[in-house]
C-alpha cells in the first residue's frame, strides 16, 4: 500500500509517461521506427502483396471465367452431341425405312417379273402351239391339194378329149378378152 502511493506520488511529480513507466524518448524512437516501417512496407512490400493478390484475384477471375466458358462449351458440346445423336437416330431410322421400302419393292418387282416371265413363257408356248397347228393345217391342206390336183390331173388326162379341149381353149380366150 505504501508502494502504490509512492508510485502515484512520483507520477504527479514526473509526468504521466513516467508514471506509466514509458520512456518518451524510446516512444518517439519507436514511433519513428514504426513510421519508417510503415513507409517501407507501404512503399515496397505492400505493393508486392497487392500485386500478388491482384494477380491471384485476376487469376481466380480468369479461372472462373475459363471454368464458365468450359462449362458453357461442355453444355454446348453435350447439346450438339445430343442433336447429332438424334440426327443419327433419325438418319438410321430413315435408312431402315428406305431399306424396308426397297426390300418390299424388290420383292414386289421380283413377283411382277416372275409373273411377266410366266406370262411370256405361256405366250411363247401358245405361239409355238399355234404355229405347229398352223403348220400341220398347212401341211395337211397342201397334201390334200396335191392329192386333189393329182386326182384331177389323172381324171382330166383321161376324160379331156379334143372337143372338150377346144371348148376349154375358146372359153379361156373369151375370159381373157374381157
Amino acid at each position: 500500500m505504501n508502494f502504490t502511493v509512492t508510485q502515484f506520488a512520483q507520477t504527479d511529480s514526473g509526468g504521466l509517461l513516467d508514471a506509466l513507466g514509458i520512456d518518451w524518448r524510446m516512444l518517439v524512437f519507436q514511433l519513428i521506427g514504426f513510421c519508417v516501417l510503415v513507409f517501407i512496407l507501404g512503399k515496397y512490400v505492400f505493393p508486392i502483396f497487392n500485386r500478388v493478390i491482384e494477380e491471384r484475384e485476376k487469376q481466380f477471375a480468369d479461372n472462373a471465367k475459363a471454368a464458365e466458358t468450359a462449362r458453357k462449351d461442355a453444355e454446348a458440346a453435350e447439346k450438339r452431341i445430343t442433336e447429332e445423336l438424334d440426327a443419327a437416330k433419325k438418319q438410321s431410322a430413315d435408312i431402315l425405312e428406305v431399306a424396308r421400302k426397297e426390300a418390299a419393292k424388290t420383292v414386289e418387282d421380283a413377283g411382277d417379273k416372275a409373273s411377266k416371265k410366266a406370262d411370256h413363257l405361256l405366250e411363247q408356248a401358245q405361239a409355238r402351239i399355234d404355229l405347229q397347228v398352223s403348220d400341220a393345217k398347212r401341211s395337211l391342206q397342201s397334201e390334200m391339194v396335191s392329192l386333189v390336183a393329182s386326182a384331177t390331173e389323172k381324171v382330166i388326162g383321161e376324160k379331156l378329149d379334143a372337143r372338150h379341149d377346144n371348148e376349154l381353149i375358146k372359153k379361156a380366150l373369151k375370159d381373157a378378152e374381157r
Binding site: 397342201s142 391339194v145 396335191s146 386333189v148 390336183a149 384331177t152 390331173e153 382330166i156 388326162g157 379331156l160 379334143a162 372338150h164 379341149d165 377346144n166 376349154l168 381353149i169 375358146k170 379361156a172 380366150l173 381373157a176 378378152e177
Partner: protein, 127 residues
C-alpha cells in the same frame, strides 16, 4: 462401120415386115453374131427382132397346146392376138406338148398367156 444391136434388130424387123428375103436376113444376122461374138445374146437379139416386128404390126406368136389345133381355133387365137397386141399380121408357130394336159399357152414378144390345165393344177398345188 459398126452398128448397135438395137439398130440391127430394128432394121431386120423392118425388112421382115416389108417381106424381105428370110434366108438372107438370117445369114446377115448370123454373121453379125459371129463377128461381134454375141453368141450368148442370140436369144435376146431374136426377142428384140420379135418386139420390133410387133411394133410394126407383125406379131410372131408361139402357141402350145396338148393337141393339134383345129382350123377355127387357130383363127380364134389369131384374132385374140390381133386384138390384144393391136397387130396387123399374126404369124402362129404351133407346138404340141402333151404335158399341158389341156388348154393353151400363147407367147407373144411382150406377154405370155397361160391357160393350160397343167399350169392351173400347178397353181392349185401351190395354194
Amino acid at each position: 462401120m459398126s452398128i448397135s444391136r438395137r439398130v440391127l434388130t430394128r432394121s431386120i424387123a423392118k425388112q421382115l415386115h416389108e417381106g424381105g428375103q428370110y434366108s438372107q436376113l438370117v445369114s446377115q444376122l448370123a454373121s453379125f453374131i459371129v463377128t461381134r461374138r454375141l453368141y450368148g445374146q442370140t436369144e435376146l437379139i431374136v426377142a428384140d427382132i420379135a418386139r420390133e416386128l410387133a411394133k410394126l404390126g407383125t406379131v410372131d406368136v408361139n402357141v402350145t397346146t396338148a393337141r393339134q389345133l383345129s382350123g377355127d381355133l387357130r383363127t380364134e387365137i389369131e384374132k385374140f392376138v390381133r386384138d390384144v397386141e393391136s397387130a396387123k399380121i399374126v404369124r402362129v408357130h404351133e407346138t404340141i406338148d402333151s404335158e399341158l394336159i389341156g388348154g393353151v399357152v400363147i407367147e407373144t414378144p411382150s406377154r405370155r398367156f397361160d391357160a393350160s390345165v397343167a399350169s392351173q393344177l400347178t397353181r392349185l398345188r401351190n395354194v
